[in-house]
Symmetry: C2
Subunit: 212 residues, 2 copies
């Protein structure tokens, strides 16, 4: 056996990162072992000795990037929905943008390489759950309307984020400016779920007492 910080690990890391880059550029079939080896500055044989096969290597790449990615959280006790959501959407946009190449290739290869499915789906699922439970909390706190279609609204915001990340590089002119995107999506979303503008917990309390 070998220790965790043995020289092998150096090669291993370098190969993994190189493979990720090459795969992001060319997809599975385009990511030849020769290309990866060159990109890693490593002999092609080392690659097979370390990972066994091209398939195993690229699977390792995916699980590696999968475990590194941590879904960002929304506050348990909502205070300022607009600010909190804008920050959350912004963070997701940033992370997803860096993973776009990997995502777009895995999605197109799910049919032929089922092990790619987990990577392509999991993040989206988590984001969905996180957002959904946050909206429920908003409703419980009286910050969002009670009669909205929570599931669909959530899908629409998540789709908007994904759509931005996936589509902007191809059709840049239809999207809101990149630095405003998060804010814009959230503003529209808030209207959709019945949150008035600039309505924080404090403002909400005032308004509620005025109404009743």
């Amino acid at each position: 056996m070998f220790a965790l910080d043995s020289p092998t690990m150096i090669s291993r890391e370098r190969i993994l990162e190189a493979a990720a880059r090459v795969y992001a550029k060319h997809g599975f079939r385009g990511a030849t072992t020769r290309l990866i080896a060159i990109e890693a500055g490593v002999n092609e044989v080392t690659l097979f000795r370390t990972f066994g096969s091209k398939g195993a290597l690229l699977e390792a790449v995916l699980t590696h990037n999968d475990t590194q990615f941590e879904i960002s959280k929304l506050p348990l006790r909502p205070v300022d929905p607009a600010a909190e959501l804008t920050s959350w959407v912004g963070r997701n946009l940033d992370t997803l943008r860096t993973m776009r190449p990997l995502l777009v290739h895995t999605t197109s290869e799910v049919d032929e390489r089922p092990e790619a499915a987990k990577f392509a789906c999991e993040g989206r699922h988590h984001a969905h759950d996180e957002l959904r439970s946050y909206i429920t909390r908003l409703q419980a706190a009286g910050l969002a309307a009670a009669d909205i279609d929570v599931g669909t609204s959530v899908v629409m915001l998540v789709s908007s984020v994904m759509g931005d990340v996936m589509g902007r590089p191809m059709v840049p002119d239809v999207y809101p400016p990149m630095d405003e995107a998060a804010m814009r999506y959230v503003q529209c979303f808030l209207r959709m779920i019945g949150v008035q503008k600039n309505k924080s917990i404090a403002a909400n309390k005032k308004q509620r007492s005025r109404i009743t």
Copy 2:
């Protein structure tokens, strides 16, 4: 030369359709000329004689499918936004679902095969324009709020449609039931752009006169 309905055309069509199927399954690199020839029930040589090269063939496939696809229209004079939008979204969902495999592969190959870009983008662009101008008409008719972020709202609905088509096969459980999807997206969208429920031209006139 040859007439348009010469025997060649038969082969040509068969090859084009077979190529579309194989490409939809396996992507560019996976769509080998052998596979396509077998799928078309045609000798591989015929394929090269007719299209010259694999690249040219698959480019022909894309432009073929591109010209066949006609973007569905929204009415010039909006009467019942909910119904009109639901029908439009539904039609788009249906068409896009059939094109999903082609779309997902072209998007992942845009970097390496720029001619795929047009196919991957154009439809989305058209849908966007169509929806945008419709919303503007809604506003002009007093059927939608005036203070909304039209561009962003439109992006969000279009993204939701794309997201549904792309994501549902992979993460089916987060989306609204397929037969309700169009209606649900539109309901949420209407709220986002300030259209009250069941507000048609007639109802709108009544309400407006009541207010003023």
